[in-house]
Symmetry: C2
Subunit: 465 residues, 2 copies
């Protein structure tokens, strides 16, 4: 088996495992107690905090351990918003943040706050200018990830942090994906991260709040972790998390170069090996180990299933997977194809041979899925012979990727300059039909909603070649 | 070393350790993913949920794993209150709940809700009638622990649950201390517990919400654990927690009898061995492994320190310990002495010889602390010779246990029927002077606050013997 999904969760690093097992015997007592076992637990907790702070690049008293990265994000956002409530209740986030940030934003809106989402370019990055423009007099907090979890694109954190400083707005950085690779540059105010993403155990997150940042932890709280993370400290896991972060950092320099070569290879080879593929995310400013591509005319779930059968564990931002019913908000914000989406995130130590085997297997997997769905083979769709001025395709009741497949079949039936209208009620079509036009260099004219509710949406595409 | 503080945190049970180490290799992946590693993690999670549900006595789909017992309490209370917001915003709790419940209650009050605290008797128990009387038309939720964490007294949960059912109010039971010993009786609606209290790892709590109970998880939430506990599931720890609960339950029947004998022995012997001691908590309706006593005229921190030096790890609800500045709210609500408080909670497998050694060591420890503080030796206080009608003692600026020591010295100087007035500004005196009167069978007349702020409070005691 080749596990290529460390962006979801990394296997436990051997150093973490060793530290965890050792700390089970030393770190189970209450660090607030005065007796020997408590003092021993306190020492472990303090040492872990120092190690983690050093890796983050902050003071130990600025860092608390939370029960997960999600909790760090939720608590960080809630505490920073509450701390600056007198300034206002406006929150700025990028459109491609992790769901934990967007859930916090939705909760803030539900409680009467306001939220601005800053859009991204087709590579998935915000522009510092665009981000700065969203900051207002009443902005209490801004949030930006260090690198995107689905496509790997690095965000211009340092420039955005500078703009936030200039506006007097604290910036919270979700560093979950990038922290194993290095400290986050720039003058940020808060930072959140998650241990199981870097090879530490689950159950540990980091929340850093720089000195001087106004912060009011959301009640109820207790006396643990400076009142910022309630509940009994999970010290063995914290010890393991800190040890893993140090170990991973020590390996990062060498592995970053090696994995970047492997992911560059996949990025280059996949479009050569598989027709109608879009590789997404910034080709250069990106995480070293992660890449994402979308295969037109296939559904993500079947691709994942077939790759799993072939021994590869990857994930997908497509809508057609068991745990999500809507396509990835990241791909949607980027305006790229979401169907047949495959994210590959290589673990430390991933071998070249595994990557080569993946490149051997992938074309057959995609071909097989397309054949089952009756997708016309590229170049054999009779595209040259179209004569109709316009064609309407009824894809009502069909779900991703069928509306796009119907569109691809129909485009060859109209003359160059003619239009295809696709009637579809699958909401993914709103993302994938324009994205298909972009990849196929056809013109997306627009869409209109029918008066009859059961007629779905009409998407109009003009054949340009 | 004898670790006698499992009520704070139990050492990891060998079964938990084994399960945890095994699950590190099998349970690190995301259980929401479709590939092999994810399916394996999901299987472990499902099996753990079933095992835990069986031990609790609920359906697996009623139980979610949280990141701590504190989190289970916080989320359970917030969710139940939100779910019944249309009924009203009144919350009923006992006065001796764990701080996590009281913190939730304070947060609820801070957000505009109302809270009633139900008092307890001198043994620490609520009465079902008293609890029922606190339920109102607008009561959204009631909370009662199954057994008290500081004195071990069991609460009449089944009777209170019945009263709550009759009033249409859901009852949340904090079962943190009793769950290792057995399922909670009665028709409760919600239940919270904590793995590290039963020998499982830290980082795992249980929240049970019975079918039909209105519940609205507090935002932000994600799709994990039925939307009731956000953040990546800590599956290795969950597996270990469930395994430990089963293992502990298998041992509980035998150990309960054995440990009850040992704690009965301590309860009986300590007052024989140490003068001026009050053993607190219900002598019969109590947890088998836990007992608490208070030693007059000593401070808790010094006693803990000396016991630690002698090889015993215990805890204290006294005010004079490093992590708390106020005396235990439990002891205060019971109206018992809080100074020199010692809680002993025996681990599974605690040996008789350890207990005997504790009984050997304790008298000398208490005597030593009293000597340092200049406490009159019992029977040598010249109590027979008092002639004054009234004496005023200035204990301003003195902290626990000094005001009570000054009172004890002075009582012998007045005639029977005469009064001692103690001026004190340590707030603990308000608890300990009346409690001292009760244990010494003297009459507590009352207290009055001086007009001059710096004169503290005047406590008046009448000598009756």
């Amino acid at each position: 088996m080749s596990y290529f999904d460390v962006a979801s969760s990394a296997p436990l690093h051997p150093v973490a495992r060793q530290a965890l097992v050792a700390a089970l015997d030393e770190g189970w007592a209450d660090p607030a107690r005065l007796y020997k076992e408590g003092r021993r637990a306190r020492l472990l907790l303090d040492a872990s905090r120092e190690a983690a702070a050093e890796a983050v690049g902050c003071r130990p008293d600025e860092l608390v351990f939370t029960s997960s990265g999600t909790r760090a994000v939720h608590s960080g956002i809630a505490g920073a918003l509450a701390g600056r409530r007198r300034v206002g209740r406006h929150l700025v986030v990028s459109a491609v943040e992790h769901s934990s940030v967007l859930h916090s934003a939705a909760a803030h809106e539900g409680a009467g706050g306001t939220v601005s989402e800053v859009g991204v370019d087709r590579a998935g990055a915000v522009s510092p200018e665009g981000f700065a423009a969203a900051l207002r007099e009443d902005t209490a907090l801004a949030c930006l990830q260090s690198a995107n979890h689905e496509v790997g694109t690095e965000q211009p954190v340092a420039a955005v942090a500078e703009a936030c400083r200039a506006a007097g707005v604290p910036l919270l950085v979700d560093a979950a994906q990038s922290l194993p690779w290095g400290a986050v540059d720039g003058d940020w105010s808060l930072l959140a991260a998650s241990s199981h993403k870097w090879g530490g155990p689950a159950g540990v997150g980091l929340l850093v709040v720089r000195k001087g940042v106004r912060f009011a932890a959301r009640a109820p709280v207790d006396e643990r972790e400076s009142g910022r993370a309630s509940g009994f400290e999970n010290i063995p896991a914290i010890v393991a998390a800190a040890a893993a972060l140090r170990a991973v950092r020590a390996e990062a320099a060498g592995e970053a170069g090696r994995l970047r070569e492997l992911t560059d290879r996949i990025r280059a080879r996949v479009p050569e090996l598989v027709p109608d593929v879009e590789v997404v995310g910034d080709p250069v400013r990106r995480l070293p180990h992660l890449l994402t591509f979308s295969c037109l005319y296939v559904d993500g779930e079947t691709v994942l299933h077939e790759l799993d059968r072939a021994g590869f564990s990857v994930s997908s931002g497509s809508s057609c997977t068991s745990s999500t019913l809507t396509p990835s908000h990241v791909l949607k914000a980027m305006g790229v194809v979401s169907e047949g989406n495959v994210r590959v995130s290589l673990p430390l130590g991933a071998e070249e041979a595994e990557v080569e085997r993946f490149l051997d297997v992938l074309p057959g997997v995609v071909r097989g899925v397309r054949e089952k769905l009756g997708v016309p083979v590229a170049g054999e769709d009779g595209g040259e012979g179209g004569e109709a001025e316009s064609v309407t395709v009824d894809a009502l009741g069909m779900s991703c990727p069928m509306p796009v497949i119907e569109l691809a079949k129909a485009i060859g039936r109209v003359r160059v300059g003619g239009t295809v209208t696709v009637l579809a009620d699958d909401e993914v079509a709103a993302v994938d039909i324009p994205a298909w036009c972009w990849t196929q260099q056809q013109e997306y004219v627009g869409h209109s909603t029918s008066e009859a509710a059961d007629q779905g949406v009409a998407y109009v595409v003009r054949r340009t070649s």
